[in-house]
């Protein structure tokens, strides 16, 4: 039987760990509340922007912009993917799920260029000896519009330089439950837009465009892609925090279970020690008594 001291040490150890997990839980939930609040402020803008781009996209017969109307039959030569992971582990299956989706995509598309957001993903690829774009260093923590703009500029730079002609984004979506999504970012896909008859907000009037649809769309590409990246970052960050909260909650519950069991064992061991001592003392006393007689 283990000694009571050993058990007590384990109990102390587990209690310490539990303190850490419950602190991490609280931190995650506070951060999440703040980032949710920020998302609320930006949602109306990006929703409206998406609706307008969609409407113009439909209205335009064709444009020369290379972000739109790609030749669907053309085989893309350079495909890239933005993979959004967390900076840290300890978030349940969050990171593993994203990386699994990324592996699946790179199996399908050989020579996939990886743009990894978050330290965890970068370490993973370093370990696997898979080459990633190594000057693409962005943190997944606290996504801001500014960071999204920089990411967007970087991607568009490679796009303009013909180093990329198709970009996917792999992120974790929070809207209908937590799920990892692989979506094409640019060029925009015709099928990605709902057809007019399925669309409730049909254009109520015809519009005059100034200066022209293509120019307006080109003016908007940066904002639109930035918006998409930003909401993907925020959704992923929220999912990360939720996963971490769940993991920490489970860890706390496990710690409670362990503690209950260990406490019982500790009491047993303590009681056994006391009983042993009493037996020894009474046995000794009896011996003395018989000796005295």
């Amino acid at each position: 039987m283990t000694s009571s001291k050993e058990i007590r040490d384990r109990i102390n150890g587990i209690a310490e760990t539990k303190k850490i997990t419950s602190a991490m839980y609280l931190i995650a939930s506070t951060k999440m509340r703040r980032i949710r609040n920020e998302l609320e402020h930006t949602r109306p803008y990006f929703d409206a922007l998406r609706a307008e781009v969609r409407r113009m996209f439909r209205a335009a017969g064709s444009t020369e912009s290379k972000f739109f109307f790609p030749d669907d039959n053309a085989v893309p030569r350079h495909t890239g993917a933005i993979v959004i992971t967390a900076d840290k582990g300890l978030a349940g299956g969050y990171n593993a799920n994203v990386l699994k989706a990324a592996d699946k995509l790179s199996e399908r598309i050989p020579g996939l260029k990886l743009y990894v957001v978050g330290e965890y993903g970068r370490r993973y690829y370093a370990q696997q000896h898979i080459k990633i774009e190594d000057d693409f260093l962005f943190s997944a923590e606290d996504p801001t519009l500014h960071i999204s703009r920089e990411i967007c500029a970087r991607i568009l730079k490679d796009f303009e330089a013909d180093k990329l002609d198709r970009v996917y984004i792999i992120y974790t979506d929070m809207q209908n439950g937590v799920e990892v999504k692989t979506t094409r970012l640019i060029p925009f896909h015709r099928a990605a837009w709902p057809r007019p008859e399925e669309d409730p907000e049909k254009p109520s009037a015809s519009f005059e465009y100034m200066p022209s649809v293509a120019k307006i769309l080109d003016n908007l590409v940066l904002s639109y892609v930035t918006g998409f990246i930003y909401s993907a970052l925020v959704d992923s960050y929220c999912a990360e925090l939720t996963a971490r909260m769940e993991a920490m909650n489970a860890a706390g519950n496990n710690a409670d279970e362990l503690l209950a069991e260990l406490k019982l064992n500790y009491q047993r061991a303590r009681q056994a020690a006391i009983t042993g001592e009493i037996t020894e003392i009474t046995a000794g006393a009896r011996h003395k008594r018989t000796e005295a007689k």
Partner: protein
């Protein structure tokens, strides 16, 4: 009496204004463009510049000026929707910060860089100049 129309301005980081307006001047890629009630349905590309609006609030007129960046304006049946990357009131503009950005953008422009970096720097320069201009006009009128 002029007829008011409804105006909503949304920026990337916050909804900016929602209410009625008498007349509006927006900076477009083709120059300053004025809008009044019963305007033709139209979508225009907004470029960095000064937005001027005569807002109609609780039966009183209020003139508002703000610095805007790239975006679009949509006019549909007397509803005007303006979507811009950022919008700032003159009193929110920090002129020292804007000057610093102006310098940074100038430096970036002087460096030999790729096409997209160049256009990013150019856009930054325009934004900084515009901020300073709006700020200056505002302080002069005080």
């Amino acid at each position: 009496m002029e007829k008011p129309f409804s105006l909503s301005i949304l920026a990337a980081d916050k909804p900016f204004y929602e209410g009625e307006c008498l007349s509006l001047v927006i900076p477009t890629t083709e120059g300053q463009y004025g809008i009044m009630a019963n305007h033709l349905n139209m979508i225009a590309a907004v470029s960095p510049g000064t937005l001027k609006a005569r807002l109609w609030e609780n039966g009183r007129e209020r003139v508002a000026v703000a610095a805007v960046t790239e975006g679009i304006a949509k006019i549909e049946n007397n509803n005007v929707l303006i979507l811009v990357d950022s919008i700032e009131k003159p009193e929110e503009i920090d002129s020292r910060r804007a000057e610093r950005e102006l310098e940074a953008a100038k430096k970036a422009l002087n460096k030999k860089a790729g096409h997209i970096e160049h256009s990013l720097a150019e856009a930054k320069l325009l934004r900084a100049i515009n901020r300073l201009k709006v700020k200056k006009d505002f302080s002069d009128n005080m």
